[in-house]
């Protein structure tokens, strides 16, 4: 499973960081850092990644199944 960030939608509300700090963080400029951008999310972090996708208030995170 991969998670894509739709950059133009991200406004830096930071809720993904709150629930999934191992995957998402905001840098000093408020830009989203995605530790697994363009990569498979490690299996043990998949549930956390799903939670981050759910809490994004502006729907800027999308789950991409492998092979899509």
């Amino acid at each position: 499973m991969r998670v894509d960030v739709i950059r133009p939608r991200c406004e830096g509300h930071g809720l993904c960081e709150e629930v999934a700090p191992a995957i998402f963080s905001l840098d000093a400029d408020g830009e989203l850092i995605h530790a697994f951008e363009g990569q498979e999310i490690p299996a043990e972090l998949e549930a956390t990644a799903r939670a981050a996708v759910t809490v994004c208030p502006v729907a800027a995170l999308l789950i991409e199944r492998s092979g899509q």
């Binding site: 133009p8 939608r9 406004e11 830096g12 509300h13 930071g14 809720l15 709150e18 629930v19 905001l26 400029d29 408020g30 830009e31 759910t54 809490v55 208030p57 502006v58 729907a59």
Partner: protein, 393 residues
């Protein structure tokens, strides 16, 4: 298909019905995931999963035909951030949203904390406190007009205009007409601000004028950008603060517990927003035949995703009708969800945090000294007054 859709034949906007809103939301949720309301010719969407589905699919469930209940408001708001789709919405959202991003707000935190502390100092010196007038309205009024760079004149009208802008979204009828008349007063005000360039240099409002000077937006759009900020920036946050005070007055043990765990303030604010969100829900038009949980909703019909009902759905929350500040319902829908999710939620959270912390530091108990009074509003769930005693011993 329509024959199988459950029906709830009730005029939802009568005052005695609105007073029992949560019971009626529960009835809607029991009836189904899509419920036809003939009185309003609308499909209500009362459960959590489907509300998210509708708000998360802005290509099927569009805002560009308006998000209210009457044709007048749906026509006059066309093209605003709230009531637009696609590229037009994206352009407006980018202009409106840029200065509201949490990153852009960090420099304002200290000032907002100061405003909250001063406000609580003032309130504690008063014998009779109205939680709505003295805290809920005073907090955003202390922050937002300066943030926007608005002049001193007409500030006493801003909250009335903001409330009217919300009520103007209700069903056609005398109450909505009256509200739309009040909104009409705000139009010459914002046009005057732009024509006379009456916005403080360096403010958000002045930034809108500068964007027009640079040709990024049209000058004649500026008044409407200002309205986009004034309306949603004031009565929403005020409403949420009012409910916070009422809920913690009604749950004194939870206030005591929160004082011991100030790290739970975010959770407490989210739970307040979940339990008593300011807005019931904005409507959408179905752009193409859609299926919601197996029910076909035909193109051209209007749907009413009920955020306030979704936020109490036991399917999602287990015990949605219980208030528990430890719940941290981070995916509540009080700010909406998706492309049209509240652009100002970062500022709203910042104001609420500052005020709650200022109260936590000083106030041991929040006590009701009279009955909370609700304002009758078609679109909002809002207190009109909240007599309180703030105990500091």
């Amino acid at each position: 298909m329509t024959a199988t859709v459950p029906t709830f034949d009730i005029d939802f906007f009568r005052p005695e019905i609105l007073a029992e809103q949560h019971a009626h939301y529960a009835t809607l949720r029991e009836l189904g995931s899509v419920v036809w309301m003939p009185a309003h010719e609308i499909y209500a969407i009362p459960r959590y999963d489907e509300v998210r589905e509708v708000l998360g699919d802005p290509e099927t469930f569009i805002s560009g035909e308006g998000v209210g209940f009457n044709p007048v408001i749906n026509e006059v708001t066309k093209g605003t951030t709230l009531a637009s789709d696609g590229a037009l919405h994206e352009r407006r959202r980018t202009v409106v949203g840029a200065e509201l991003r949490p990153k852009a707000l960090t420099g304002r935190r200290e000032g907002i904390v100061q405003i909250a502390n001063d406000l609580v100092d003032d309130v504690l010196a008063r014998p009779d406190v109205d939680g709505v007038r003295d805290l809920a309205l005073a907090m955003p009024m202390g922050v937002v007009p300066d943030f926007l760079g608005l002049p001193q004149h007409d500030r006493e009208n801003l909250m009335r205009w903001a409330d009217a802008a919300s009520d103007g979204g209700g069903p056609a009828g005398p109450d909505t007409e009256r509200a739309l008349g009040v909104v009409g007063e705000a139009i010459p005000y914002v046009i005057g601000l732009v024509e006379n360039r009456e916005l403080t240099p360096g403010s958000l409002g002045a930034g809108i004028l500068e964007a027009a000077d640079r040709g990024e937006i049209e000058m004649d759009e500026c008044p409407f950008f200002l309205l986009d900020y004034i309306g949603p920036g004031l009565d929403t946050t005020a409403t949420a603060i009012g409910h916070f005070l009422a809920l913690f007055a009604q749950h004194p043990d939870q206030w005591t517990a929160l004082r011991d765990e100030p790290g739970m303030v975010t959770s407490a604010i989210n739970e307040t927003l979940r339990f008593e969100g300011p807005f019931r829900g904005f409507t959408r038009v179905v752009a193409r035949d859609a299926e919601i949980d197996g029910t076909v909703v035909p193109a051209g019909s209007r749907v009413w995703p009920l955020n306030a009902s979704a936020n109490r759905d036991d399917r999602k929350w287990g015990n949605g009708s219980e208030f528990d500040f430890r719940r941290n319902p981070i995916d509540h829908l009080a700010f909406g969800y998706g492309l049209h999710g509240c652009a100002g939620q970062g500022l709203a959270r910042m104001e609420m945090h500052a005020l709650v912390h200022a109260l936590l530091n000083r106030v041991t108990r929040i006590e009701l000294t009279g009955e909370p009074v609700y304002r009758v509003s078609s679109t909002m769930n809002q207190l009109a007054s909240l007599p309180l005693a703030l105990i500091t011993d």
